[in-house]
Point group: C2
Chain length 318, copies 2
């Protein structure tokens, strides 16, 4: 019997999830729900967002593909009341409060939510927890080269900026030092490459303002390049990304150890879609074991990423 899937949101991520779900014979894609008037390139049924409740008997798992900022905080509780859900919520400061609040809602409505389920947060979270538990140190994460949505948003809020995008570029020297366990705090982990569309007369002020934004750019090696709207559009279409988590540690005997985990992808949303789709099986396993509530990737054993009928053959991966 196939697992019936719904998708909420039809941006880059929603489209990637649609393609990934359609390519898997275990899944049956029932409908996409969107607040905008959209047409699926694969003839998937598209419904207005508010119609999702009518599907409560027809869909097993809802894939929430909106953005953390404007969509997920509102849509997750609305949809979770009726469905088991997976989202990619990545506003770090709010993960704990959302986890608790939504966990209560999920328990009360007999559902499960797997939240923050992408590559970071997501499988990188699993790796950071594994590394910390084994080595005891805080793991170091490097991102890029690839677009950072948060930093791009920060640029676009600057007065005089018409449009902009930011590429995060990891400092190769810092990666090398992190692997050796000799990274010091004064070495920048990342370079910030900004591409901005502005009026000629605003350029000087825009560059100054960007470099002063606390948490995002201040104190970090930042370059600001002014480009045309056409050039910027091309840069915004770059979906490739990379990332690496590193832990070095020494034990009581003075022996040294190093662990690292790296991913590289042509398309950030398509990689995220592959991970979300793997966790559809986790929803099924949680349900079979009568477990309800909110879960992050940290709470879910990897054996849950396979059909329960495959559990025995899974031991061959040991």
């Amino acid at each position: 019997m196939k697992i019936n899937i719904g998708i909420v949101g039809y941006g880059n991520l929603g489209k990637a999830v649609e393609k990934t779900v359609l390519a898997n014979k275990d899944f049956n894609l029932v409908a996409i729900f969107s607040r905008r008037t959209v047409v699926s390139s694969f003839n998937t049924t598209v419904e207005p967002y508010e119609n999702f409740k009518e599907y409560s008997s027809k869909i097993d798992v809802m894939m929430l593909c909106g953005g953390s900022k404007s969509d997920l905080e509102i849509q997750t509780p609305e949809v979770l009341e009726y469905f088991d859900c997976i989202n990619t919520f990545d506003t770090h400061a709010k993960i704990t409060s959302e986890y608790e609040k939504l966990g209560e809602l999920a328990k009360n409505t007999n559902h499960r939510l797997i939240m923050s389920c992408g590559w970071d947060p997501g499988i990188f979270s699993i790796i950071r927890a594994m590394f910390k538990s084994i080595g005891g140190n805080e793991p170091i994460t490097f991102w890029g080269k690839g677009v950072s949505m948060g930093h791009s948003d920060a640029i676009r809020r600057v007065k005089g900026v018409i449009d902009g995008v930011q590429f995060t570029v990891p400092n190769k020297e810092a990666i090398k030092l992190a692997k050796q366990g000799s990274l010091s705090q004064d070495i920048p982990l990342h370079f910030r490459e900004c591409y901005v569309v502005s009026k000629k007369e605003d350029e000087k002020s825009v560059e100054e303002q960007i470099k002063k934004i606390p948490n995002y750019f201040k104190g970090q090696p930042t370059t600001v390049n002014f480009v045309s709207q056409t050039q910027l559009q091309k840069l915004k279409e770059k979906l490739y990304h990379k990332g690496e988590v590193i832990e070095s540690f020494s034990n009581a005997c003075g022996s040294k150890f190093q662990m690292s985990f790296a991913v590289s992808m042509d398309s950030n949303p398509e990689f995220t879609a592959s991970i979300m789709s793997a966790y559809i099986y986790a929803i099924c396993n949680l349900k079979e074991n009568s477990m309800t509530g909110s879960f992050t990737n940290l709470d879910i054993p990897v054996s849950y990423l396979f059909k329960s009928s495959d559990k025995k053959s899974l031991l061959s991966l040991c």
Copy 2:
């Protein structure tokens, strides 16, 4: 309250676990059980193996540090009847049958066993399962440079061999191709470097015999070096090792993705000890949740590698 730990077996692994457990304030090392007459360098109480039953009210978790072949198959069921246990059982062909047999015993005696809990099998198993669930392909594992116990044993069984050790060396070209997703079946993954002590007149026959051993050396690039007993002893003391798991995949859209996980260690037994020690917390979490039976690393969420009181702060790793 501290977690009371016992160690069964006092070879390289038992000694490494002793040091790792002593270095952690959450643990209280109660006793080492050995079939041989041994003395702990840290004044830990040493008891004859058969006395372990007398400690059933004094020890929470038993760390089984014997070898898979001669010790674990016998000792695991004997000790598991009285204690929660962790072992590093790595005879792949028997993992499924041991998992089932010991799972039944653990359930009947109200205990938990975490088996095959090292780096491979162990955390590499988690990574292989994660990679397969996301990418769909069989992940490729590279080991070395480091000593392979299995291959060293195979050498020592050859007629005319007085002593021997085998270093597994990964083929760098194969690693590169695996990352690109273009590895073909005719490329060897590993080179086999053998160091052997033999009588001069046996050398030719020994080299021929080694290179013919099926599964271990036949069809694989193998070099046999004849050395003195003193030289061999030094080589056998090399405890460093490395390993890497790689998965490349393409999705339905033709986009390419790559995931890799690498470890490097000064001491193989000490790294294994760090991993086993992290899973002591998993035993506690399983117990708090009234879960009994046999478990591999695949069955255990990484959140279980932390004290249950730390669960909330763990979300900061997401």
